[in-house]
């Protein structure tokens, strides 16, 4: 792997240059406690130090709502609406979110590629950034706290800039024109500093231990009393799934237009916490109660992972941080599996 270094000041210059390649998105502070990926207007507004964004990065490749095609019922024709090949650059993505994007790929690209997702993903540039955990983070026990792949560049914080890992050919091409100018050679002190950063970061995780048995305990303790107790608090609002970086469920609907002839087919994010998610013809519902729906998310995030072997949950903490009812996902999982490590 190739390593280069950039100073804090030059990072702003690099962001300016990225804006010329495509649409640049980066974390912004949107209120006292919340951050979100926003289109970058002034590079000085970019937040390098943030915990988690409201909306997950998957929305840039798989938007909340998109028109798949339009149709004309009289001509019996449909008109594809594939996304443009415009470059989208995501700067400041944490390692958990990068792994989550790869679990998205496992469903949207690997087997039967989804053309809409693929066009955007192929034209997307992902630039990661290092972070330090807060009490909601548990990416370490999910084994995704340090990524090897899935990014074009990854910025590791140093006292005087960033050590940049180059992950792909696209990443090399971003560096090449500025090599020696804003991207410098890495010196032994920088490596020492990165090492110290990682050591300090590792000591900051509040959850410790080995979670490899979790999915099996989830499957074997389906009737655990936690589900009933916690689902009572649940509002069924879907915030946990809509902010989740690895949730994939969508619904499809035809929206007719006023001419009574044409219309559009849309795809939009669904949530397993909604009643209609499990509703099928004949008014039968696979997940009739709030408890069934609550249960489903816990199973899906932890046990439905035969293709990826890593769980869909990447420990980003969003589902707890953004739960209006204050349901503690991590603590509930630990209760089921009987883990004690690092309980605060």
């Amino acid at each position: 792997m190739r390593y280069v270094k950039i100073s804090k000041q030059d990072t702003y210059e690099f962001l300016e240059r990225l804006k010329k390649i495509g649409t640049l998105y980066a974390p912004h502070k949107v209120s006292e406690k919340f951050y979100d990926f926003c289109e970058v207007d002034d590079v000085k507004d970019v937040e390098f130090d943030y915990q988690r964004t409201i909306r997950p990065p998957r929305r840039f490749f798989y938007p909340e709502r998109e028109v798949l095609f339009t149709f004309d019922t009289h001509k019996v024709e449909l008109y594809e609406n594939l996304p443009s090949k415009e470059k989208q650059i995501l700067f400041g993505v944490h390692s958990c979110d990068i792994v989550a994007l790869r679990t998205m790929d496992s469903k949207f690209m690997d087997d039967q590629p989804d053309p809409y997702y693929k066009v955007r993903r192929d034209n997307g540039i992902v630039i990661g950034i290092s972070c330090v955990p807060d009490e909601y983070c548990f990416c370490n026990v999910r084994r995704v706290e340090f990524v090897d792949t899935g990014f074009d560049l990854f910025f590791h914080e140093l006292p005087d800039g960033y050590l940049v890992r180059v992950g792909t050919v696209v990443g090399h091409k971003l560096i090449d024109p500025y090599e020696g100018e804003i991207f410098k050679e890495v010196c032994p002190d920088d490596v020492e500093n990165m090492s110290k950063f990682e050591e300090k970061r590792a000591s900051m995780f509040t959850t410790t231990g080995n979670w490899d048995t979790l999915r099996y305990f989830m499957e074997m303790r389906l009737d655990h009393p936690m589900y009933m107790r916690e689902s009572e608090k649940c509002l069924g609002c879907g915030n946990c799934t809509l902010t989740c970086p690895s949730c994939k469920c969508y619904d499809v609907q035809d929206i007719p237009s006023i001419d009574g002839r044409t219309g559009e087919r849309i795809r939009y994010w669904d949530s397993c916490q909604f009643r209609s998610h499990g509703l099928v013809a004949g008014n039968h519902n696979f997940r009739e109660t709030k408890l069934d729906r609550f249960h489903n998310r816990y199973q899906c995030k932890n046990s439905y992972c035969k293709d990826t072997t890593t769980s869909f949950c990447v420990g980003c903490g969003r589902c707890t941080y953004f739960c209006p009812a204050g349901i503690q996902f991590k603590e509930n999982l630990m209760e089921i599996a009987g883990y004690k490590g690092g309980t605060t």
Binding site: K33, L235, G236, C237, R275, F322, A325, G326
Partner: protein, 271 residues
């Protein structure tokens, strides 16, 4: 069954827009959607007093949109007539769907007490009733909530009928749309009593986007999935009193039968 079945595209569906006791805001919204001229070309408005004085009451129509709550004897008589002359009946707006703000006192005081407070000894030229949603009196086919309803939903309903299909109701809360809009959560951040988690989606979190907590104008999420108890528990933990929570919930949801039992469960430890 589609509205235009048997027309083969030659006839125009007949539509009626009626108002019971209300502010007329819903029909004003319908009359001012950006594509109103296209709607007027496509359907025949048999009755829509805001647009045409040639309106009849009642008229034989394929689709009737009824705004307002039943608040007088006359409202009730008109509503029965409208139902008799309409193939499809749509409740339009908060008053029609859930009774609206005028039904706030439902269950709190009886109609005679309310009447005495509002009118005193004065005689009025009509027989008033406790304000109720139209579904208490007639069969309603579809519900189009909002105060007033959203333009895209009005267009979706009319377009769906023109297509010979039906509008799919939303069964998830405003809270979901709010997060998708990228809004910070004012319930989490500021502890404001926001009703987004129990209110039917469709407004794309209009108020919260302007930093104002949801007061539930679109009514509780249908199919018994408005969890007043869970939300009351959340409010209680944030130190909000039962009285304030009840008042908030009742502004647009006084007729919801789940409301009181769910509040009791949280604040009084009932079942």
């Amino acid at each position: 069954m589609g509205v235009i079945d048997g027309c083969a595209g030659d006839c125009r569906p007949r539509v009626g827009v009626y108002a019971l006791t209300s502010c007329y805001g819903c029909q004003l919204k319908l009359a001012t959607v950006s594509k109103i001229m296209e709607i007027a070309d496509t359907v025949s408005f048999e009755s829509f007093y805001m647009l045409s004085s040639a309106s009849k009451m009642p008229a034989d129509v394929d689709v009737a949109f009824v705004e307002g709550s039943v608040s007088t004897e006359k409202d009730l008589e008109e509503l029965f007539e409208i139902r008799k002359h309409s193939r499809i009946l749509v409740a339009l707006g908060a008053c029609s769907v859930n009774g609206g703000v005028q039904s706030w006192s439902e269950g709190e005081m009886n109609h005679d007490q309310l009447h005495a407070i509002v009118y005193g000894e004065e005689k009025i030229g009509m027989k008033s009733l406790q304000a109720t949603p139209i579904s208490k009196h007639v069969e309603v086919d579809y519900y189009l909530p909002g105060c007033p309803p959203e333009e895209d939903e009005i267009m979706y309903f009319i377009s769906a009928f023109l297509f010979g299909t039906f509008p799919e109701p939303k069964d998830y809360p405003v809270c979901a749309e709010c997060r998708l809009a990228g809004n910070p959560c004012i319930l989490i951040e500021r502890g404001e009593p926001c009703l987004g988690p129990v209110t039917t989606a469709g407004c794309k979190a209009r108020c919260i986007t302007f930093n104002v907590p949801c007061i539930g104008c679109r009514g509780p999420v249908p199919h018994n999935t408005a969890w007043f108890d869970s939300l009351a528990m959340t409010f209680k933990e944030k130190g909000i009193s039962e009285e304030l929570v009840r008042h908030r919930f009742r502004i647009f949801g006084a007729h919801n039968p789940d409301l009181e039992p769910m509040l009791d469960k949280i604040y009084k430890g009932g079942k």
